[in-house]
């Protein structure tokens, strides 16, 4: 049974948001006023990098752009670009642009 809503926990400001499964993390962050900065919003600038501390498996698979971008950056596997992630289940994220 798949829940039709998911929660996103933004650690920096302890912000907990509920959204329909499949919603883009960028839309959720914008709508809830989370303290995450977005740059190009299409996966080529890296401003919105986050660490997914819980529920990495609930993030949509990486597309080619995000995969190649993060590969070039040599970062650990739990890092994602917030603008490229759709939320498929509960997750907890920490913004890395500090």
């Amino acid at each position: 049974m798949i829940a039709d809503t998911a929660t996103v926990h933004f650690l920096l400001e302890d912000l907990l948001v509920q959204a329909p499964v499949g919603t883009s993390l960028q839309v959720i962050a914008d709508a809830a006023g989370a303290d995450i900065t977005f740059g190009c919003r299409n996966g080529s600038c890296g401003t919105c990098r986050v660490r997914v501390t819980q529920g990495l498996e609930h993030c949509s698979d990486m597309g080619a752009e995000e995969r190649d971008f993060l590969k070039g950056l040599c970062v650990s596997e739990d890092e994602r670009l917030a603008c490229q992630v759709s939320v498929l289940g509960d997750i907890e994220v920490d913004y890395l642009g500090l």
Partner: protein, 1153 residues
């Protein structure tokens, strides 16, 4: 007694300061110079007024200098000749060196004499003097300095690579003759432009000089210490040689007709010591404007410095007069253009026969444009004078092309003359052992003397090596001679394992490609560092053009796979392997790898398959079997703007013109649009299709009936008021026009009143409004309100980066009386325009009313309240840092940086993926990689070469450091002469910059990253602005006007990213100058995502979205001097311009308000 070299190993060496001003302080008269003829000949004073010179040397030694330079800056034949003293050159140098030596011997401590050798008055590389004359002029000087007892030769204030090489050779020869060995030091002079006088960058200087047996490579003159940083940094990072640095006492200013150098002894020493620590300098001293007082302060601080051994990690490179090019290219191979070769190009031969040397240079420039990295030059043509032809060609080519040269000749005298003329580091092509080692040695001697790399063929006394084993055996012998005996670095040996044609069908050569490929692999494995080269197109010699094209491409592909480093190739004919149909590829690979079987000979099949004369694109071979209509469609989809013309002509014989447009071409464009929408096709390819469409329509138009209406509908396009962004709207224009619509493109910054006036004169079916700025979304809504007031009903399509579907379908639709539609890209705009012109707009409006993306989002908990504010009203999340860094100067500096430095900071990922739209979409990983490798990367290489070759960009920059502090949400910026030590009540505020603050969370504001006024201390604010110049904007406009759609698109994207690269480059310099660069990421991609301390904030971005802030930056940095203006919507014009505020605070990062 220790030698100079011993001393340098122990510690940093201190040289003297300026000589000329010290001499002039004696107020020399005509009498001192011995008469009118010799008036001003400073070197004559060594004998006429020795007491003056002795005193100057002694003053510098007393001040603490370890060594002084002889008063021989102009003591060469060319300069002395102007005083009628050329014949005394050798003697005068001996006198000068002896004089200095006498003074040095008065001291107990070891003191040394450095023979100063100046640049003279004539530039070799610009053809102002013959090489032989210049060589003789220096040779005499060197002999004299050696005889006078100099401890080292310093070839200084060098402005020309040709002169540097010639003087160095003269010094080597003089030492060999007199059997005296002393170190040769060389110092280049980099102007404020960032290059040597003739345009050479420091990388090219290093590449050229490194192999010439010199002991020190450094810099002197032209600027003060600070301006040398970028170049010293390059040397520090790449040069294996000790570095010297003898700057002027700052940038000279003209005060009341007098040249004044601004840096006093303390300030000068502070900066030199800073640079010495930063870059690990081995020798320091002064040039113009420095005095014994300057040297004395330096001497007092020498104890702070430690001699650091140098470990150069210079990539092996070759160089031209302008730039250095790495021999190892990523992706491989380095392409050596093969058409400036009398053996390889009929056109070159024909022009040679006509003695059209400018035409020959044209061929060189063409290859540069097409992406060659180096030029193979061969003027051997039976019946002509090869030396003279080489001279005539090179004299033009060395200044008119920027590529390094491969000198291709079998004649020793031709090679020697070419090496004498070519200023950079060349490659000599080639040596072999056909007639034993004698000739090879002669050529290697030249390569050593001129610091050239060498191509070596696997040919020995028994002939050309045909098997892998033979090739490797000859390679071993070549390696032993060149690397073992001659001591060349392995990568200056480039082995050519030979290619033979597969076209003859001779049994002997059937396996020749396999042997060559295996030999490449073995040579790379057995001789680490050695490079390989192939004349790839030999493999297909004698076959028809269609076959050659495919065979060459696949041979190149497999050679690179085997490890090939350089390929001699026609750069315009690189066929992407991915474009070769699979069955053709298999067939040709069977030929290369000699996979014959019973009743199967790939050579016969290949020869039968490829018809003669069809040499351009193999995919066309398939097309020949198609119907005329299908062929045209394939041309559109493949973007074949050349080939389509012939096919249109064929089609016109069989079909009505209207049928061709409506039933054939437009449906093909529809397929293109669908493929783009589905992620199967990328934007650059779409634009190539549009170019093919444009060409086809232009071909058909004269055949259309006079009253034919081919147009599907009409639309007015404009970028809204206050917005200068052109490209999005122009892409829409291109797509709509080439899909059968009539478009009137009104341009940028269009007030709605003007748009409506245009509509009256040119009734259309719809209006399209575009704009990139957030502000423009507001303008669009206001425009719609005004249109409603005037009772307009015409459908309006909105597009632009800052728009969202929600905003258009809710906020904009509600204020207007007619239909309002959102278009995410040009193709969605096309769909909507189609619907409008077919009267289906109502369906579209209904279908478009989709639920908001953001619906269903609910905040469940907003944890811990916001971060509290400090008493100053600032975020308490930001720490107070102990001390702000000290900038090297206060105030503003202007400069320009050469393009290669911008390329160095180019974010190629953002360019290719984002700007150019090469995204994977639905392509497989392999297909996408092939697209990047075979299309995107070569396009970028070609554009880089083109921009280096044509003066399209004019990069200029201004940046500065200002004392500043924060007051609440604003920054107070003080006049730069109000350095932090000036008491607060005397400080003058030149700008107050307000910033927005985050309402919740960390509650950040840019001002928080600077010390508050209440601290009583000032902080440092850096500002910068960079531009590629009006020239760049004009060039983009020119491409668009010429319907060169894909070029326009590529150029715009590249220029936009280069502007960003320039900002990144300057920001890196600011961090270095502030001493906060230690946290700069080594990985470029990390660096581009803020991989450094501090942050660079540009107006218009999330932390400071209001563009108004550009005004004060431009005012303070003197933007108008760079030709930068502000539009009434506060955007900077010309387009490729960007400005920023730089915060050094470690917690300063991007944030959104």
């Amino acid at each position: 007694m220790p030698t100079l070299t011993d001393l340098m190993r122990e510690r940093v060496l201190l040289l003297d300061g300026g000589m000329g001003t010290q001499i002039l302080a004696n107020n020399p008269t005509v009498e001192d110079f011995g008469g009118k003829l010799a008036d001003g000949c400073m070197e004559l004073l060594n004998e006429r007024r020795p007491e003056w010179i002795r005193a100057i040397h002694a003053n510098y030694f007393d001040a603490g200098a370890d060594a002084v330079e002889t008063n021989t800056f102009g003591a060469n034949e060319v300069v002395l000749g102007e005083f009628g003293l050329a014949h005394r050159t050798r003697e005068m140098n001996t006198i000068a060196a002896r004089l200095a030596k006498e003074v040095a011997l008065n001291y107990d401590a070891p003191k040394f004499v450095i023979g100063s050798v100046g640049p003279g008055t004539k530039l070799l590389s610009l053809g102002q003097i013959e090489a032989a004359a210049l060589y003789h002029s220096y040779h005499q000087q060197m002999l004299g300095l050696l005889e006078g007892g100099a401890d080292a030769i310093l070839i200084e204030t060098c402005q020309d690579l040709g002169q540097m090489k010639t003087a160095t050779r003269a010094a080597q020869a003089a030492m060999a003759e007199l059997k005296i060995q002393i170190p040769i030091w060389v110092q280049a002079t980099v102007e404020t432009s960032g290059t040597l006088l003739v345009g050479t960058d420091i990388a090219s200087v290093l590449t050229t000089m490194e192999r010439l047996g010199i002991s020190v490579l450094g810099m002197n003159c032209a600027t003060g210490p600070d301006e040398m940083h970028a170049h010293l940094a390059h040397l520090a990072e790449n040069s294996p040689l000790p570095i010297s640095c003898l700057p002027n006492a700052g940038l000279p200013a003209n005060v009341g007709g007098q040249v004044v150098y601004p840096l006093g002894p303390e300030a000068f020493a502070e900066r030199v010591i800073h640079a010495a620590k930063e870059f690990g300098l081995n020798i320091i001293g002064g040039c113009c404007g420095t005095t014994p007082a300057h040297i004395k302060v330096l001497a007092g601080r020498l104890g702070e410095l430690h001699a650091r051994p140098r470990q150069g990690n210079a990539e092996r490179s070759v160089s031209s007069l302008y730039q250095s090019v790495a021999l190892h290219q990523e992706p491989a191979p380095l392409i050596v253009g093969e058409r400036t070769n009398a053996n390889g190009s009929k056109k070159f031969r024909d022009l040679l026969a006509l003695e059209d040397y400018d035409g020959l240079v044209g061929i060189a420039r063409d290859q540069q444009r097409e992406g060659a990295h180096m030029l193979d030059v061969c003027t051997a043509y039976v019946g002509r004078d090869e030396v003279r032809d080489m001279e005539q060609f090179l004299k033009r080519a060395i200044t008119q092309t920027t590529l390094p040269l491969m000198i291709d000749s079998t004649e020793v005298n031709v090679i020697e003359r070419a090496l004498e003329l070519a200023p950079g580091k060349c490659v000599v092509n080639s040596i072999n052992f056909e007639d034993g080692e004698g000739k090879a040695r002669k050529i290697l001697d030249l390569c050593r003397d001129y610091g050239a790399a060498v191509v070596a063929l696997t040919i020995d006394e028994t002939g050309m090596a045909k098997t892998c084993a033979q090739k490797v055996a000859v390679a071993k012998r070549l390696y032993d001679l060149v690397v073992g005996e001659y001591g060349f670095p392995p990568s200056d040996l480039i082995i050519d394992p030979l290619t033979f044609t597969l076209g003859s069908g001779d049994e002997e050569f059937r396996r020749s490609a396999v042997e060559t490929l295996e030999a490449i692999r073995e040579i790379k494995a057995k001789f680490p560092g050695v490079l390989t080269i192939l004349g790839v197109s030999n493999v297909s010699f004698g076959l028809n053009p269609g076959t050659r094209h495919v065979l060459n491409a696949l041979m190149l592909y497999h050679a690179v796979q085997a490890g090939l480093d350089l390929a001699i190739f026609n750069s315009s004919k690189v066929l992407p392997v991915a474009k070769i149909p699979a069955d053709e590829r298999r067939m040709v690979e069977d030929l290369i790898f000699d996979r014959r079987a019973e009743n199967y000979d790939p050579l016969k099949i290949v020869m039968a398959t490829f018809s003669a004369g069809r040499g351009v694109m193999t995919t066309k071979l398939d097309v020949t079997h198609l119907s005329t209509e299908a062929r045209l469609q394939a041309d559109i989809i493949d973007g074949e703007k050349g080939a389509i013309l012939g096919h249109v002509d064929d089609a016109l014989l069989a079909f009505e013109p209207l049928h061709i447009i409506n039933q054939v071409l437009l449906p093909a464009m529809k397929i293109v649009g669908d493929r783009f929408g589905a992620g199967e096709m990328q934007l650059p390819f779409v634009l190539e299709s549009a170019e093919a469409m444009k060409a086809a329509i232009a071909r058909i138009e004269p055949h259309l009936p006079k009253d034919a209406n081919t147009k599907k509908g009409r639309i007015l396009l404009a970028t809204v008021k206050g917005d200068v962004h052109d490209i999005g709207k122009n892409l829409v224009d291109i797509i709509l026009t080439n899909n059968g619509f009539e478009v009137k493109n009104l341009g940028i910054k269009q007030p709605i009143e003007d748009i409506l006036k245009a509509l009256e004169a040119w009734p259309a079916d719809a209006i399209g409004l575009s704009g990139l700025l957030v502000k423009s979304t507001v303008v669009m809504r206001e425009n719609l309100m005004l249109m409603k007031d005037e009772n307009h009903q015409i459908p309006v399509i909105l597009g632009g980066a800052a728009l969202t579907r929600d905003y258009v379908e809710k906020d904009c639709r509600s204020v207007y009386s007619g239909p309002v539609l959102y278009a995410a890209d040009a193709f969605e705009g096309l769909t909507q325009l189609r619907a409008i012109s077919e009267g289906r707009v109502k369906d579209l409006m209904a279908a478009a009313a989709s639920p908001s993306e953001a619906s269903g989002i609910k905040v469940l908990r907003k944890g811990g309240s916001s971060v509290p504010l400090t008493p100053e009203g600032q975020s308490s999340w930001v720490r107070r840092e102990p001390e702000p860094p000290t900038p090297p100067f206060w105030g503003v500096r202007e400069g320009s940086h050469p393009l290669p430095e911008l390329f160095d900071f180019l974010d190629e990922f953002a360019l290719l993926r984002n700007r150019w739209g090469f995204t994977q979409g639905l392509l497989s990983n392999e297909a996408f990689e092939a697209t990047l490798r075979d299309k995107a990367v070569p396009v970028l290489a070609r554009w880089k070469a083109r921009l280096l070759g044509e003066a399209v960009l004019r990069p200029r920059a201004s940046y500065g450091y200002f004392p500043a502090c924060s007051r609440g949400d604003a920054l107070l910026v003080y006049a730069p002469d109000m350095v932090p030590s000036v008491p607060p009540d005397q400080r003058r505020i030149v700008a107050r910059l307000p910033f927005p603050r985050q309402a919740t969370g960390r509650r950040l504001c840019i001002a928080d990253f600077f010390r508050p006024e209440s601290s009583g201390q000032l902080d440092v604010l850096a500002m910068q602005v960079v531009t590629l110049g009006q020239e760049a904007a004009d060039f983009a406009a020119k491409l668009y006007k010429a319907d060169a759609y894909s070029d326009y698109f590529y150029f715009h994207g590249l220029a936009t990213e280069l502007t960003e690269a320039y900002a990144e480059r300057l920001h890196a310099q600011v961090r270095r100058e502030l001493g906060i660069h230690h946290r700069d990421s080594e990985n470029r991609r990390q660096l581009f995502s803020q991989g450094y301390q501090g942050s660079r904030f540009s107006y218009g971005y999330p932390a400071c979205p209001e563009l108004e802030g550009n005004g004060p930056i431009l005012d303070l940095l003197g933007g108008s001097r760079l030709g930068i203006r502000m539009t009434d919507s506060f955007q900077m014009d010309p387009e490729y311009t960007t400005s920023a505020l730089v915060a050094w605070h470690p917690q300063a990062r991007y944030f959104a308000v």
